[in-house]
Assembly symmetry: C2
Homo-oligomer: 147 residues x 2
């Protein structure tokens, strides 16, 4: 797989999601990329941290701002395996992140069911890359949970 493509970065986010799966967390992973370099990786840790706000995107955004020493991520891209929720969309707004790429849509809790206007007006959004893999991992997780 060639470096520096959207596919490469989304695949890195998927690797994070798979770690979440192994750790019995809802499997969502995220990476933040700045100038073709991954500056933050995270996966959902709401169970481990006993913190309902510890979504992959929140952890990745906080880690990225720490890494850059800047509150703003205008020149960065977030790759995340599931459509961000309202909270994470709000966090991306405050960080003014340049682009969001999400894999699977979330018809239940995705931000876009509320309003596309939750994002910063300068944030570009793409979705659908590796959506099937991302959704399959989530489906497998909830199947495992019900057992």
């Amino acid at each position: 797989m060639e470096l520096f493509t959207d596919e490469y970065f989304m695949n890195e986010a998927m690797k994070m999601a798979r770690i979440a799966f192994e750790e019995d967390e809802i499997p969502v992973g995220a990476v933040v990329v700045c100038r073709n370099r991954i500056i933050a990786k995270a996966y959902n840790q709401t169970e481990k941290l006993t913190d309902a706000t510890a979504h992959a995107e929140m952890l990745a955004i906080t880690s990225a701002t720490n890494s850059l020493g800047s509150k703003y991520l205008n020149e960065c891209k977030l790759y995340v395996t599931l459509e961000p929720c309202v909270m994470c969309a709000g966090a991306s707004f405050w960080s003014q992140i340049g682009e969001i790429h999400y894999a699977a849509s979330d018809p239940n809790r995705g931000f876009s069911r509320v309003s596309e206007g939750l994002l910063h007006p300068k944030t570009k959004v793409k979705n659908g890359l590796m959506a099937l893999e991302a959704k399959q991992l989530l489906d497998d997780f909830f199947k495992k949970l019900r057992k």
Copy 2:
């Protein structure tokens, strides 16, 4: 001032906001109360932590869940000096917090301009208590900033 009243807890949130003011942070403070006991206090630290997600409510919710050892805050109340933004409303949704009391409204970035439906259906909301003091502190802050 009598203990265990909404006024008492909002005043504690105001004290947090004043610390933020002194530390050159946008002055918003929050406390989380569970069974009449303050289990978390926080103020906005976006500058100090270089983290656009470090709003008073986010820090207070995370701290409260750590304190309780539970992801959920159903029996807790959040007192905050400014209407929560979309991100913080989303965080309160995931925590299923029982009540939110906010002082000043935020016509620019408050969650209610988007939708009251951003909150958890079980979360009760009250507002307006100490709103004048909370807004005055914010106005003073932005006046100081422009100097």
